[in-house]
């Protein structure tokens, strides 16, 4: 059992300091800016929630929000089931299992901008295998010009990048199921679907919660890969929240609205994660 000892705060102090420096200080700055109108260093006016109201009414913000939700929902809907299926199709034990696991882990280890570059090289209609093959088959494919093509390639890229995470987590969950559980189900006359639902899914539950939470958070924050691959284009069609915010902050130097946007963005993610988490925890209780 853990002993009660308030001097343990000494051990935690460095972490608190560093994270406070890296996170709290900047956040405080952001919140500060979000409620003021700043003309220059010395001229600031308190404007209350004006910037928040403006952001929430900004059609470009709402567009980006819609795009973001569409994107996150799509990739989650593909990555979770696909990851589970891949995990189920892996051999549980044996020499080849290690080999497959390593291969699965590779996309997770690649720097995110490199992921964007890889898919650029792969999807371009002139030099990319994917792009050129489609063109040769008579299918028009140009992700820099066509909105649907851009979305398709983005989704393909994200699935390529992150499904392995779900697969590896699910595999760990499945591998923890001992043989007798399958044997007993076989003896009970359970169908394959029943085996999945009553033997495998309960074990996968805690693992899947983590997987969904991580994917939800990270897909809502996505920036590098779409930026490298499509640059937010064609037009605005693949500009998601992060990129929009960055553009606002960097190129326009409109500190107030950018700050308000930032706060809203952060709160949105927290809210969605909290909603997911509590609804899942509550369903565990019945």
């Amino acid at each position: 059992m853990r002993r009660r000892n308030n001097r343990a705060w000494l051990g935690v102090a460095p972490v608190v300091l560093i994270v406070a420096f890296s996170a709290v200080l900047p956040l405080m700055t952001v919140v500060n800016y979000s409620i003021q109108d700043i003309f220059d260093i010395n001229t600031r006016i308190f404007v209350g929630f004006d910037w928040y109201r403006e952001t929430l009414r900004d059609p470009r913000f709402l567009d980006a929000l819609l795009r973001q939700f569409t994107f996150s929902a799509t990739v989650l809907a593909i990555e979770i089931p696909l990851g589970i299926l891949v995990a189920k199709s892996l051999p549980r034990t044996g020499a080849r299992t290690g080999m497959f696991l390593i291969l699965l882990a590779v996309p997770l280890l690649i720097p995110w901008n490199v992921v964007g570059t890889i898919w650029q090289l792969f999807a371009r209609p002139d030099i990319g295998l994917f792009g050129a093959t489609l063109t040769a088959l008579g299918i028009e494919f140009n992700y820099t010009a066509d909105v649907i093509d851009a979305w398709i390639i983005l989704v393909l890229m994200d699935v390529w990048h992150w499904t392995s995470l779900v697969a590896l987590l699910s595999f760990a969950g499945l591998a923890s199921i001992q043989e007798p559980y399958y044997q007993a189900a076989e003896i009970d006359g359970a169908s394959r679907w029943q085996v999945f639902r009553y033997v495998e899914l309960p074990r996968l539950r805690s693992v899947l919660i983590i997987a969904v939470l991580l994917r939800l958070m990270d897909s809502l924050m996505i920036y590098t890969e779409p930026f490298v691959l499509t640059g937010g284009g064609p037009g605005n069609s693949t500009t998601f929240l992060s990129q929009y915010l960055t553009t606002m902050a960097v190129s326009q130097f409109d500190l107030g609205p950018a700050a308000a946007f930032s706060v809203l963005y952060f709160l949105l993610i927290l809210l969605l994660c909290w909603l997911f988490y509590t609804s899942v925890m509550r369903s565990a209780e019945d």
Binding site: P180, A184, P202
Partner: protein, 360 residues
Amino acid sequence: MAEVVLEKVSHRYPEAMSDTFSNVDLVIEKGEAHALLGGSGAGKTTILNLLSGLARPSSGRIFFDGVDVTDVPPRERNVAQVFQFPVLYTSLSVAENLAFPLKNQGWRGDRLRARVRDIAERLELTDCLNRRPDSLSLFEKQLVAIGRALVRPEIALVLLDEPLTAVEPATKWQLRRVLKLAQEELNATMIYVTHDQTEALTFADRISVLHEGKLLQTGTPADLYQAPAHEHVAYFIGSPGMNLVPGEIIDDAYRLDGCAVAPAMGVPSGPCVVGFRPEWAEVTTKNVEGPMVTVTRTRVLGTRDHQPMGIVSVDLQGQTIHTRQALNVAVGATARLSVREDRVVGFRAGIRLHGGLANA
């Protein structure tokens, strides 16, 4: 419930160099509680897998009530199995767990509920019916696993693979009691695998002792105790096991160190192993016939009429022998070993010799 016959069954794992066991012949009667007793690696779990259909024998046939089931898959054999740890569906309640096999057979409604309640009552699980498995103790969970095995009335047999392993020592006996009760009342053919002789001897009508892939002996607990067919059986059963002392048969008598200890009529002379249980022997300083031994250790177990009783360990030419008697000899003393003549069992090449033996 069914009668189970194994006919010349052999099994070898795909990558193994030799058979796990070969040419096993075994008949288990309908409604019999049968134990497969043996150390780890003796092949007991393999036999269970062959009976449940999860493995196929390399040769030989298996019959349930005269029907050849060797090629029948598990779900059609109507067997049930209880494992070493409680195997339950964790997302279902106890009642739903018990109902699961029945539902897959098409049971519904009142008939289903009545059966679930009946089994739960027998196993004293009625209060737990609506609870989830993770709120139960290990003991209760294993009871539910047993219940699930017993719930289908048409099952041919119930297989138990060391079911008491996960249960804490203080409650093992309770689980044994419940199991035995259920077995008797339902007249279930149960095959129970274990390495613990207490479990086997308290549960089974008959026991098969397995050792290194061979079925050494099948018999009632009394048979095994008093007339072991094989040296290993004699050694394994009993605590401490039977004394197995190298000796010889000369002039129609078992001899240890030259001294006759028991008659051996009709048995060919020659070296042999003389077996006798500790309670059938005594070490005494009185002048009796018998080999000379030196007392090496005594261990108190109790008193009888103010006289301490226990286990006396002696040395006879480098061999250690245990007797159970009054502790009236001192450590280091020289004494004589006397053995009850009608209780000596002779072994040669591991097999029990006929003649001059304990009553059959």
